[in-house]
């Protein structure tokens, strides 16, 4: 089977139809990509199934994650239907509700219960920012949660910097021959002043790893909002992942400006919301797939987790030591570390402890601000 059955009518229509299916499958198929696809087919043999396949794969995909989706769509579209014509199926179901909704009680729900709603609001106002700053994030009332959200949005985190290779005009450092010469030219070739240049500062990469397993559930919403604030501050240099039964990269979702939309998108991206954790395995997935390749190299890596490890802690220890060697600073944030009588005895923490540069609490807004301070000075 080498020739392709193009649907009745204009072949271009059939090909463009294929791109529509791809778009529905989640590929970022833009008009210029469609044009490139058609141009590629122009240079190839359209009747060859292989060449049509590659023309599309090379022009319409842009990520290894796109490839399985492309393969499926290609098979569906270009395999002649057995009996009956081609029908297009449009998925008209609503997208599933974001899983984060469970953690962020809707405001309508609140206004229904007049009395309770009002009293908590009053309390929130009375409690004031100062008290709220020190409250445990897990014990907040819905109204306080709302208030905290606004406070989080007001954070202006300053991110760490590192010395760059790039030279910029400066008062110190080696002479800048270009600027010195240009200045000399303006003075008829007379060198009156030496200009200097020096290395500029560039933002250092920051990686946030947020545990979203069941035991961290009370904190997850606030921590993800915190991550959103940090990602938005410097979208190019901050990476965010969630740890659960799987590793999920949520940087792209958190780059959205609107906090609620970003969190809803991140919630949809996380398949293992409040499930179990296998910290060791998930950390290995992170170090293998991202950390070692560059995301963690010379970065400030912050792990938000209570360190409840159900699997072997040896594996976690090995991964933390790898991460420690890759990263500039490795910080662990454990919400329980802020409570009275806390001792780092959970298996995960014990395994990780020798490789940490810092162990912080992060259970309240005040401690999160402390964390930002540590990250900035890293």
């Amino acid at each position: 089977m080498t020739s392709t059955e193009v649907p009745v009518g204009d072949p271009i229509e059939g090909l463009v139809g294929f791109t529509v299916v791809l778009r529905a499958a989640g590929l970022a198929v833009t008009t210029d990509r469609v044009a490139a696809f058609l141009a590629a087919l122009d240079a190839l043999d359209v009747t060859s199934r292989t060449q049509t396949y590659w023309a599309g794969r090379l022009t319409l995909c842009s990520d290894p994650d796109d490839l399985p989706r492309y393969d499926r769509a290609f098979d569906d579209w270009f395999t002649p239907p057995r009996g009956g014509g081609r029908t297009r199926v449009v998925d008209e179901r609503k997208p599933p509700p974001p899983k984060l909704a469970a953690l962020t009680p809707s405001t309508q729900g609140e206004s229904d219960e007049d009395d309770a709603g009002e009293s908590t609001q009053v309390f929130a106002r009375a409690s004031g920012n100062e008290v709220l700053r020190n409250r445990d994030l897990a014990e907040l009332t819905p109204a306080e949660r709302e208030h905290l959200r606004r406070l989080l949005a007001l954070l202006r985190p300053e991110l760490p910097t590192r010395r760059s290779r790039r030279l910029r005009p400066s008062r110190h450092g080696p002479t800048d021959p270009g600027r010195t010469l240009r200045a000399a030219l303006r003075d008829q070739g007379e060198l009156r002043r030496l200009h200097h240049r020096d290395h500029s500062r560039r933002p250092r990469r920051v990686v946030l790893l947020v545990d979203v397993s069941g035991s961290m559930e009370p904190y997850a919403d606030a921590l993800l909002r915190f991550a959103h604030v940090v990602v938005r501050r410097s979208p190019g240099t901050v990476e965010a992942f969630t740890l659960g039964t799987r590793l999920t990269r949520i940087t792209r979702e958190l780059r959205m400006r609107d906090a609620d939309r970003a969190l809803a998108a991140a919630g949809r991206a996380i398949p293992d919301w409040s499930g179990g954790t296998r910290l060791g395995e998930v950390m290995r997935a992170f170090v293998d797939r991202w950390g070692q390749r560059g995301a963690a190299r010379r970065a400030v890596v912050v792990v938000f987790s209570d360190g409840w490890e159900r699997g072997e802690t040896d594996l976690l220890g090995v991964q933390m030591s790898r991460l420690h060697r890759l990263a500039h600073k490795l910080v662990w944030v454990n919400p329980h570390a802020g409570k009275d009588g806390y001792a780092p005895v959970q298996g995960g923490i014990v395994a990780a402890l020798p490789y940490l540069d810092d162990l912080l609490a992060g259970h309240s807004l005040a401690t999160l601000e402390e964390l930002l301070e540590v990250v900035r000075n890293a």
Binding site: A36, L44, W54, L58, P64, S164, L181, G189, G294
Partner: protein
């Protein structure tokens, strides 16, 4: 739309054959990708695990086209003056002093002096400018994921216009656009705007048969048995959950190392002696050394 002189190939299959003659074995996808890159004048964006032959592809293409390979290695903080062009300041200064010395008592005309300073002969062509000025050429922009995103934005113009503008001289446009190959190891996400202008090629490790063929083409005279054993063992290593699974480059290194120590086949002793050619982490080497016999038996 195609102003490139007719290449050595008029179909992906012919191009694959030409690549094969240089020792680079291309499958359907790779052949189609390179063929389209030439036909459509589009940069080829190669992504994949380290050691799957991304950089080697550019070298093979240069050989096939009889073109000069110009390589730009990206790194943190790379900027236009390292990628595009720079002025040779010391020589400009010297020139200025020479002008002063020969002018005698008469005053110099500033405009004329300045014009003579920004002469193309004081221009240092960095890889991208060099690629635009050299015909034919293959421009390899290696590990673009290491550069900052500002640098990507700067590449957009060069890749679509095949021209650069130097304020003092004007626009320099390639008569024949270079064939551009970009590689990325996926350490960070490259901007979609850049990817959209390229053909996207994802490279996987080759299958067993192709890897054996690669060994034969890269190391002519390698015993059939050794090639098959090495390729098989590397395949097993890739599934062994290592910190750094070996790429094709490591396979070739290993086979070469085995030949150098005079091994005609792969056994526990020769493998243990040459393991450093294929595994690059102490943890990996320790683990594999313990299980060498089961690994080689499979």
């Amino acid at each position: 739309m195609n102003d490139r002189p007719a290449g050595p190939a008029d179909s992906p299959a012919a191009l694959a054959a030409a690549l094969r003659s240089t020792g680079y074995l291309a499958d359907d996808g790779l052949a189609t990708a390179t063929f389209l890159a030439m036909q459509m004048n589009r940069p080829l964006f190669c992504e994949g695990e380290p050691g799957t032959g991304k950089t080697a592809l550019a070298q093979a293409l240069a050989q096939v086209l009889g073109a000069k390979l110009i390589r730009l290695q990206c790194h943190d903080g790379i900027d236009a003056s390292q990628a595009l062009y720079d002025w040779d300041f010391p020589r400009q200064l010297l020139h200025l002093r020479a002008l002063e010395a020969t002018a005698g008592s008469g005053a110099l005309d500033t405009d004329a002096v300045e014009a003579s300073l920004y002469d193309p002969r004081f221009l240092l062509a960095r890889p991208i400018l060099e690629a635009l000025q050299t015909t034919p050429s293959v421009l390899l922009i290696d590990e673009i994921d290491r550069a900052d995103d500002e640098f990507e934005a700067f590449l957009l113009e060069v890749l679509t216009e095949h021209a650069v503008t130097i304020p003092e001289i004007g626009e320099i446009r390639a008569t024949v656009p270079p064939l551009v190959v970009l590689t990325s190891n996926r350490t960070r996400e490259v901007h979609d705007a850049l990817k959209r202008r390229c053909l996207y090629l994802w490279l996987d490790h080759p299958d067993l048969q192709r890897e054996i063929e690669i060994l034969h083409s890269r190391l002519p005279g390698i015993p059939e048995r050794l090639a098959a054993q090495v390729a098989g063992a590397v395949r097993a290593l890739r599934q062994a959950d290592l910190l750094k699974p070996p790429g094709v480059a490591e396979t070739i290194d290993w086979a070469r190392a085995l030949q150098l120590v005079g091994a005609s086949h792969l056994d526990v002793d020769s493998a243990a002696a040459t393991l450093g050619a294929v595994l690059k982490y102490r943890e990996d080497a320790d683990r594999v050394r313990k299980q060498l016999d089961t690994l080689l038996a499979s």
